[in-house]
Structure formats: structure tokens, C-alpha cells
Symmetry: C2
Amino acid sequence: MAQERRSGCPINLTLEQLGDRWSLIVIRDVMFGNRRSYGDLLANNEEGIASNILADRLKRLVASGLMTRSPDPSHRQKSIYSLTEAGIQLVPLLAQMCAWGLAHTHPSPLLSVRATLLVAGGPDMWEALMQELRYLHLGAPRPERSVFEEVRAAYAAAAKVS
Amino acid sequence: MAQERRSGCPINLTLEQLGDRWSLIVIRDVMFGNRRSYGDLLANNEEGIASNILADRLKRLVASGLMTRSPDPSHRQKSIYSLTEAGIQLVPLLAQMCAWGLAHTHPSPLLSVRATLLVAGGPDMWEALMQELRYLHLGAPRPERSVFEEVRAAYAAAAKVS
DNA sequence: TCATCCAGTTGCAAAATACAAGCGGTTCAA
DNA sequence: TTGAACCGCTTGTATTTTGCAACTGGATGA
């Protein structure tokens, strides 16, 4: 159970928790897509994640303290997955992944809209997004600025044009 | 050969290239440890990477344009691996991984010294490091500031104390 | 000439991933 | 009250990736 760690390097330890093909995809969907239940994550995932992989990743992310699971009052079988503060603090990392992906891969134009906005917004926007996530996931007071709304508007405008 | 992509999302595309347990470890060693040959990478890797995994990752990183391989004039069997501009631009991503790892894992104190300095230095220091990497890997003119030297000095000081 | 170095490759076992089907409890409408 | 649909998974199986150890064939140096 107490998994051996390969080394004490912070990059390595981050990789040991998040260095696979799916963990950050799940976090991305919870974070940017506000998908909060298993079924929502499974049905609306862009990359077609398999149900057993999703179940495994959710378990691992909860176990390692990046997410929490709480019962959904509207449906006894459902759970609501929320980001913890540690999960929310992945925003800058994901933003850098957006930046690198935009510059060095060939992302689809429509899916690039939100990423471009997030990268252009820089650390100020990332901090505002983190505040908003603390509101949505941790019950913090609602911030004035809504990055979600800014991004939604930009996406809608781009989708209309294309 | 033309591998199917799961989606056009820039985060996903980044993950498809770098989302495994070893690719970024190899890049870290080339980037921060200035390990430039197969043998150097294999013998001095902190995490004990296996020889076949290293060979595979070097091939993939070269194939995907993050590194180049050139012959070593001093030894006909050896090659020198260098970062490309795309590889160098992973500096901010790795810096964010350092930041998250420092805050949310339990890295070893000694290995945290360099990471802490890099995180504290912020984007200015990352840019200086990138300039230095362009000098070391791409033949750009030598910059005045040497982040390598700053980091080396901090590490030596910490190692002496501990 | 011969031991050593060097950059990998090969064979095999174990683990992770992918895909499809199934399962028991819950909800809801008739 | 009953049955269909929904829900969050689990199970079984095939494929792929990883990890480990041993090995190889050429290059180098004494």
C-alpha cells in the first residue's frame, strides 16, 4: 500500500501522481467543464475515457487528496466530486500545458479558443479562476469576476462564427 | 504510423506527447542536469530508469521534435542529445510542476533547493534559463546571466549545510 | 591483443489500458 | 405496484506498456 517513491524530486513526485494519460484529463473536465458526477464525466468526455479507467482515476484522485466525493442530495446513488485546494492549485500547471500545446501541437481551432484566452489572461486570470473554483468547489464566497463566464462568451462567439 | 489523436484539445495533445511516467524525467535530466548522452542519462538518473525505457523515450522525443540527436566528435559510438526550441519551451511547465510538487508532495529537502529557487525566481528567471539553454543546446550567443550557476551555488551551499 | 566501454536490443514477466458486457440498487411514470 | 430506464460502477478478456536482467556488436585504449 505505501507505494515506494522513485525519488524525492518534486518534479518526479508530481509525475508519480499525475503522470499518466488520464488523470489530468479528468481534472480538466471537472475544472473547466464543471463536470461533477461520474456519469457526467463519462458521457461528456471528449477523449472517450473508458468507464473502468474513470472509476479508477476518481478513486486515486480522491485517495491522493486532489478531489473529494460527497453525496448528491438529489439522488441517493450519485456523488458529487469536488476539487480540493491542492486540485485547484493545478490551474497554473494546466494553463502552461495549454500554452505549450497551443504553440507546439496542432489543436483544433474551436477547442483552442478557451485555451488561448486562458493563456492570454496570464497569472491574473488564473488567480481569478482559482477564486471562482474555490467558490464552486469549496464553498468560498462568490468572487466578482467570473472567468467561466468570460470563457463561455468567447467560446460561444467563436462557435457561432465557425 | 499516423497515430490517432483522442481529441484536438491542447491539454490532451500535450498529454499524448508527454503524459507518461518517464518522458518529462528524461527532459528534466537533459535540461537541468545537462546530461547529453545516453550513458550519462542512464547512469546518473535519480529514479533508476531502465535502459530500454530510456532508449524508447529518446527515440520518441527525437521523433516528436523535442530533441535532436547529433554525433559526438570525441567518440564515434556516442551521440549528443540536444533540446529543440519546443523542448526549451517546456521550462515554464516544469517550473509549475516544481511549484506544485513543492507545495503538495513531500519532496526531499536537498532536491527541493533548486526547485525552490526556480519557483521563487519566477518568469524572469525561467526566461533567463531558456536563453541559457538556447546557448547550450542551439548555439545561441552566451547570455550574461547564468541560472545554472545560480542554482549550482545554491545547491552547493545547501549540500554543505545538510 | 584483449579487456573495457558504449549505446542500445532482446526475452520475458508483470502491470496498465481498452473495450464490451453485466449488475444491483434507485428513480420515475403508468 | 410494477416495470423500464438510469446510475455508478465491476468484471472478464485482449492488447499494450512497463520493468528487469541478460546480452550484443562495434569502438576505444593500454
